[in-house]
């Protein structure tokens, strides 16, 4: 069948088909092993690289595990106060309508403390991209309950499982945002399997193209894991995600 070429030879002679994008720095990510933030970072930067607009992009890091996104995304970035990234993005984008402005936010940041800023940026149809990493928990502060925490799910502030009667249902904020005319694109994805990573990247690309074409707000929700917060191995947490998160937060386009 095929010629008997060694891996070493392939590395020398073959085509390079995948390597770290230059729009990610060389710094080692500060995330826990297997944390989905890494993939979400990478594909966002890959999209900007492929569009050739890395030097025209301004990213907003949230407060959450990805607060240090600016250490890893090799572009201009601002660190926003907890929940306020969409307001910060508004401030930038209104003054630089030609730049590519995006926020990168967790579920605590976007759907708890930052709900107001999120909704009103979307309602104004700010021409920005929101990358929303929903891991159903406050990762950075040690695994407290988020508004997106599932029913019965254990967290450090729901140690006996989230009780809907006491704290309400996991909020489907992306569905709510999709109702707003200012939002041109709302979609939910995941990054724990190769195929899903490819799809998510496509969605991110579409979002930035929307921005280029001045269509309004695009929101990409990425359902992700938090191994530390969920207290599972990375592999286990991805299985758990598939079985438990996805039924509540089904993947696919919600709008646009």
């Amino acid at each position: 069948m095929s010629e008997n070429i060694t891996p070493e030879e392939i590395i020398k002679k073959g085509t390079l088909v995948f390597e770290k994008t230059k729009l990610m720095t060389d710094a080692h990510l500060s995330y826990c092993p297997g944390c989905g933030h890494g993939v979400a970072h990478r594909i966002t930067m890959e999209v900007l690289e492929e569009m050739g607009v890395g030097d025209q992009a301004i990213g907003i890091a949230p407060v959450g595990c990805s607060v240090l996104a600016y250490d890893f995304m090799n572009i201009d970035m601002q660190q926003a106060a907890h929940g306020r990234a969409p307001a910060v993005a508004t401030g930038i984008k209104r003054l630089y309508p030609e730049k590519y402005v995006f926020t990168y936010q967790g579920d605590g940041d976007l759907a708890a403390i930052g709900t107001n800023e999120t909704i009103h940026a979307c309602n104004r149809g700010e021409n920005i991209v929101i990358i929303f990493v929903n891991n159903g928990i406050y990762g950075m502060t040690g695994g407290q309950m988020a508004p997106t925490t599932l029913e019965g799910m254990v967290s450090s502030t729901s140690p006996y499982g989230r009780d809907l009667g006491m704290t309400g249902h996991p909020i489907k904020i992306t569905e709510m945002l999709a109702m707003l005319p200012g939002v041109c694109y709302a979609t939910r994805h995941a990054v724990h399997k190769p195929g899903l990573v490819r799809k998510t990247k496509k969605a991110i690309k579409k979002a930035f193209e929307n921005q280029r074409d001045k269509k309004g707000t695009s929101i990409i929700e990425i359902v992700s894991n938090c191994n530390s917060g969920w207290k599972m191995t990375p592999v286990k947490s991805n299985e758990w995600l598939e079985e438990n998160m996805l039924p509540v937060f089904p993947l696919g386009d919600i709008k646009g």
Binding site: M77, Q78, A80, R84, A87, G91, L95, N116, E117, I119
Partner: protein, 359 residues
């Protein structure tokens, strides 16, 4: 110089903001300063200069829009009144920590809580000592006239960019709502994006190649580095204290008693000087124009020649702390002031002075 106009303090501020070549105003309505955004909207500065004016969803939204714009090297302004300024404290601390320039206006009303919409100077502590968390300082300018509501926009931005630090104009409902003559500066051009890249590109997030990229942040998890950053801020504050103190003196040469008052209270106290003269009481007045840096040295010097110092504020006594710190025990320092939206009259001030130091 342009022709003389009759304007409200709030309107003069807004017009000066346009003429300063400011890039963006973000704000949320609140009495007694809603005229700022109303005037701007009416004037359509996005047509006059391309300036962005946006009514935010809240004061918190507004301050973080300013953060974003300032972090991108733009001249950004926000304004509010007391409760709204309280809501901005986290954002203000972020701006100071990230070393971002901006000009903010607080048209103070009576508190605490929802309080009253009438004039007050009871936000001195919040503004001058630190309403937000952490070791930081705001440069604080206290306008005492409609003219200064306009003039301090330019002065504020000069310092804001020179030191990369937020500047607050501490005004009140009286100065904001009153009309006076004002002479406005001619229109300045807004900086082009190229000029911004030239001037502020080394720190502002305006889109860079990876090698030159910029980051705006106030986070430093390593305490050693955070301390270093704090030392840098403190060094800057020492420099500002050395260079930027501004004050005005009235009748200080041979005064037996010294009033210290800022903003609207300083105007009232000017009349008190006259009333004093009529009664044979020789009163001087120092009006701090910068509340921080505070004119401590001048007050300390002035204290050598007087029998007593009265800090006259529309508050229960806040600036009086700084006056006492300046005087450092040389002579008695007392406080007088109406508050909760009430305004003292010149004769009430005189009476208080007599009661404290003469009778």
């Amino acid at each position: 110089m342009e022709e003389i106009k009759l304007m409200k303090g709030n309107e003069a501020f807004a017009e000066a903001v346009i003429r300063e070549g400011v890039d963006a105003y973000f704000g949320y309505p609140i009495t007694p300063q809603s005229e700022v955004i109303e005037y701007l909207m009416l004037e359509e500065p996005y047509k006059r200069t391309g300036m962005v004016v946006l009514q935010a969803e809240s004061e918190i939204g507004a301050i973080h829009m300013v953060y974003g714009a300032a972090g991108a090297g733009k001249k950004a302004v926000t304004s509010s009144s007391s409760p709204g300024i309280s809501l901005k404290q986290e954002g203000i601390s972020y701006m100071a920590g990230s070393e971002l320039p901006c000009v903010m206006l607080n048209v103070v009303r009576g508190g605490p809580g929802l309080g009253t919409i009438q004039p007050s100077q009871a936000d001195y502590f919040q503004t001058v000592k630190g309403g937000g968390h952490g070791d930081y300082k705001l440069i604080v300018l206290a306008p005492a006239s409609v003219q200064e509501m306009a003039d301090f926009v330019e002065d504020g931005f000069k310092m804001a960019f020179k030191y990369r630090t937020p500047v607050m104009l501490l005004s009140d409902g009286l100065i904001g709502q009153m009309m006076e003559k004002v002479q406005l500066k001619p229109q300045k051009a807004r900086l082009s994006n190229e000029e911004i890249r030239e001037k502020y590109g080394s720190w502002a997030t305006i889109g860079h190649k990876p090698e030159e990229r910029t980051i705006i942040t106030s986070l430093e998890l390593k305490s050693e580095r955070q301390e270093k950053h704090n030392h840098k801020l403190q060094a800057k504050y020492r420099e500002i204290e050395k260079k930027e103190v501004r004050l005005e003196k009235f009748n200080c040469e041979n005064a037996d008693y010294l009033l210290v008052a800022y903003g609207s209270s300083a105007r009232i106290c000017q009349k008190t000087i006259q009333l004093g003269k009529e009664k044979g009481i020789n009163i001087g007045l120092i009006r701090p124009i910068t509340l921080w840096p505070f004119p401590s040295d001048e007050i300390n010097k002035a204290a050598d020649k007087v029998k007593g110092v009265l800090s006259v504020e529309l508050s229960a006594g806040q600036m009086v702390d700084d006056v006492r710190l300046a005087v450092n025990g040389k002579v008695p320092v007392e406080h007088y002031g109406r508050f909760g939206g009430m305004i003292h009259s010149p004769d009430e001030v005189l009476e208080a002075l007599e009661k404290n130091f003469i009778k």
